[in-house]
Symmetry: C2
Amino acid sequence: MEKYTLEDCPIQPVVNVISGKWTSLILWEISQSHNHYGDLKRQLEGISTRTLATRLKTLEKQGILDRNVFPTNPPTVEYVLTKKGMDLAPVLYAMRDWSEKYN
Amino acid sequence: MEKYTLEDCPIQPVVNVISGKWTSLILWEISQSHNHYGDLKRQLEGISTRTLATRLKTLEKQGILDRNVFPTNPPTVEYVLTKKGMDLAPVLYAMRDWSEKYN
DNA sequence: CGGTATCCTCGATGATACTG
DNA sequence: CAGTATCATCGAGGATACCG
């Protein structure tokens, strides 16, 4: 019953991806070329390591992000948007436009 | 510290409006001319009366919706998007477009 | 550097009964 | 019809310590 409508609503799929306190902010930062874990951690001041790691892992599972490890010393990790993730850009920029108008 | 970044992020204002399990779905339904409380309740199958009422009240406080009461018998209540709320349309339609592509 | 492992808190949401 | 009032739950997120 609940499942029916939630799955049926034409915006539910994107809600499943961007919901959460930090998720859309993470996506925004990555879309702005803040691709490294440490860079994200710095930009998203106040986020816990646990939450950032959890959200990144979920987005990876959802096919929104790819995770690339560079065997430097110390190692660095980079997150990049997949095609599916890049296609969220219109959503993110519409969000930014509204925010600029009404903040 | 946390406040700084959250307030500073260029998409934070819209996140404050559309976050929550049901909020963007409510906005979608209202944008699709499901304006009556009972109509919304029917479309959003599975939502509790408490949650629907709470979210509508919050959206009203945020200036996204106007609440109109018609003194019919029994009374009916209609929720309509303000200009600020209507300006969320690009966000909602971008969400729908992505959802159609990747659901 | 880029996480994982634990424990804990708190607020959003749900269920239900009731009301003008 | 359109809610409000109460109580209960549940999981996202935070704090902290530790690790390869």
